[in-house]
């Protein structure tokens, strides 16, 4: 009898809980308590333009199921287009695995939650609801790269077809630049390194274990074999042994000399000139030496710089570039990435490794200072703030910018002037 009672109670409780859960599920499925048949169809009665949308090849699943309320609130919302949540987060409420923390590289639009840059939230004739297909989609934003790819004499066919052959669209957990894997593994998926021609083209060096993009531009180039457009002479003439050990050695990629000593063999005039200056740009003489800034094989940049100059300089001097970025007045050469307009990148006899001893002369190459100021400057004008200084452009201006206009150090010109002209201090 007791057993019968217990079973009955348990069954009753189970039934009650089932009813509660079923009600909750229904409420979640139909939060607006829409009448049967009203879903989707109801919306489309007014939104007639959606008929064309519904005829496309790929329709976003909620829309296909008539669940407009999956993304939109039919009554009122805090977001545009009556979206039920923040547009940068609403997609992630279903597609939560499209971004991840602590990844090696992430697509900016994904990080920003700007999914609609690439995907149409309703429908598309392209798979994954993409707004365009293949590389065309990517070149919509990466315009410069698209133009370069279109004009390249030597094209890399996957690039023209679909960037996704090599890149992941959302993030790459372990690789830079959204790459699916890194060279050489990525390249060897298509290129057969066992071919005789592969070996002979690479002069017998086991490049299948090296970084292909050290020489080859994966996006194509105007140089044969898709080498970057500026090629180091020994590579052009396939004289790899000029710098590297013999391909049959145990360490074929090791260089025959370390750091600048290797480069000095050919570039002796430049290196000697560098070493005859008082102030050395110290990375020139560290273990990496010239390779801190230059690519040893080939580069898209002139002088075999490993990246555009501003990028190279900012890899160490990020504070200076950041200062310019937040400065109220920008210094044009920095904006243009021409740090070497003023600085001698290897060495100099002048402070700050400047190209000129006198910063008045240096600034004067671009600025005719007497047109905007007749304040006395020069070696014989002593700075009232410091007996060992004479007045020059840097007495008032900071060339990499300040938080005030015209690179000056103070909020107002008065504040600057009274540093010396103290009798006018208020």
């Amino acid at each position: 009898m007791t057993i019968f009672k217990h079973t009955l109670v348990t069954l009753c409780l189970f039934s009650l809980l089932s009813v509660v859960f079923a009600f909750q599920a229904t409420a979640a499925d139909n939060p607006y308590n829409l009448a049967p048949g009203a879903r989707g169809k109801l919306c489309l009665d007014c939104h007639e333009g959606f008929k064309g949308t519904m005829e496309k090849k790929f329709i976003h699943t909620p829309l296909a199921e008539g669940q407009c309320t999956g993304c939109h609130n039919p009554h009122a919302a805090d977001h545009g287009k009556l979206l039920a949540a923040d547009p940068t987060q609403i997609c992630a409420s279903c597609h939560e695995d499209m971004s991840a923390a602590n990844v090696r590289s992430a697509h900016q639009v994904v990080s920003d939650g700007d999914c609609v840059t690439c995907h149409d939230p309703h429908s598309s004739d392209n798979r994954m609801n993409l707004v365009a297909s293949g590389s065309e989609l990517c070149f919509g934003c990466h315009e410069e790269l698209g133009q370069q790819v279109a004009s390249n004499k030597f094209a890399h066919s996957p690039v023209k077809q679909d960037c996704m052959t090599c890149h992941a669209p959302h993030f790459s957990a372990e690789n830079p630049a959204l790459l699916r894997s890194q060279a050489p593994e990525l390249c060897l998926d298509c290129h057969d390194s066992s071919k005789k021609t592969f070996k002979s083209q690479h002069v017998g060096y086991p490049v299948e274990t090296a970084n292909c993009s050290s020489c080859h531009n994966p996006h194509g180039s105007n140089t044969t074999a898709m080498l970057y457009d500026n090629v180091h002479q020994p590579l052009t003439s396939r004289m790899c042994k000029q710098c590297h050990e013999d391909p049959s050695s145990a360490t074929p990629f090791a260089t025959v000399k370390p750091s600048f000593e290797l480069c000095q063999g050919c570039h002796y005039e430049m290196v000697n000139d560098t070493f005859n200056k008082d102030r050395m740009h110290w990375p020139v003489v560290d273990e990496k030496g010239c390779l801190n800034c230059h690519s040893p094989h080939a580069s898209s940049e002139a002088m075999l710089m490993k990246a555009p100059q501003k990028e190279v300089c900012s890899s160490c001097h990020s504070d200076t570039i950041a200062r310019q970025a937040r400065a109220l007045t920008k210094h044009q050469p920095i904006d243009d990435g021409e740090c070497s307009s003023c600085h001698s990148p290897h060495s100099s006899d002048n402070p700050f490794i400047l190209t000129e001893k006198s910063n008045i002369n240096l600034c004067g190459q671009c600025h005719d200072w007497q047109t905007h100021s007749t304040h006395p400057i020069g070696d014989d004008v002593i700075d009232p703030r410091n007996p060992n200084l004479s007045l020059d452009c840097l007495s008032c201006h900071r060339t990499h910018g300040t938080e005030y206009k015209h690179f000056i150090y103070t909020e107002t010109i008065n504040d600057l002037c009274v540093q010396c002209h103290q009798q006018y201090r208020r």
Binding site: D278, V285, E287, C316, H317, T320, P351, F352, D383, N388
Partner: protein, 297 residues
Amino acid sequence: MKNVLFIVLVAVLLTMVCQPAVAAQLRLRYAGSIYTDAEGGPLQHPAGVTMSGDRLLVADSGAKRVLTFKYAAGVVTPERVLPLPQNFPLMVELASNGDFYVLDGLERQVLILDRNGKQKATLKVKGAGDKRVVPRSFKRTPDGQWLLLDLFSSRVLLLDEAGSLQRELLFPDGEGFFSDVAVNPQGQLFLLDSVGGRIYRANKGEEAFTLWSDNLKDYTNFPVSLAATNGSLLLVDKYGSGLAVIGPDGGFSGRKLSTGWSDGQLYYPSQVSVGAEGQVFIADTENHRVQQFNIEE
């Protein structure tokens, strides 16, 4: 017994609480500036300054000379001018026998000058293999050894007075650029990564550096020099024209001084040195002077 345990516990807690507090309370009081040598000749772009016993040594780089000063009872008196017209002195240290060791930026070697300033040799590293040595910085340790930052071979060398290798510590792995080394009275070595904004430390006898202070880029622009005080480290922020104080736990504990041309301000300083009585000398390079401050805690 319980009382003893309680007292010990309180003492430990107080020590823990007070250590960062001491660092945070470090104050610098301006004590004076050196603008000239004994004959009134102005300093030009001095990049190096070192307090050694009662002597103050200045690498007056732009004028290509080393200056010596006598320090007594808070007063700095010019002594000698040691011209180096064929070199570019960046740092200077005093050996126990009275020789001057000068880091020459032009030839990138350490010159040894006798008491009269005559060059008698260059520092040759013995026992470190045939690797090239390019010194970027060097310091004399409290026990009379030489600490040398070798840029070319990515290592820090600890040498005896004769230049024989005692210990070699490789630079830590990873990107960065190492500008300076320092040693504190306890014999701990510190290595500064200017680009990464990090300080690495090796305790006495250890064979490798480990990360000790990180994220200094949040507080400094481009630190280039460091020196140990009693418990803290002072860091010269060259492009930020100021000093950063790093506490005994490796944490940032404040900035001192700011950009400017007047006394007490800095304009692209290069090196800091701390004397036994808490005197802080700064090579205020682009202000063409050396400034003295005293630590008040």
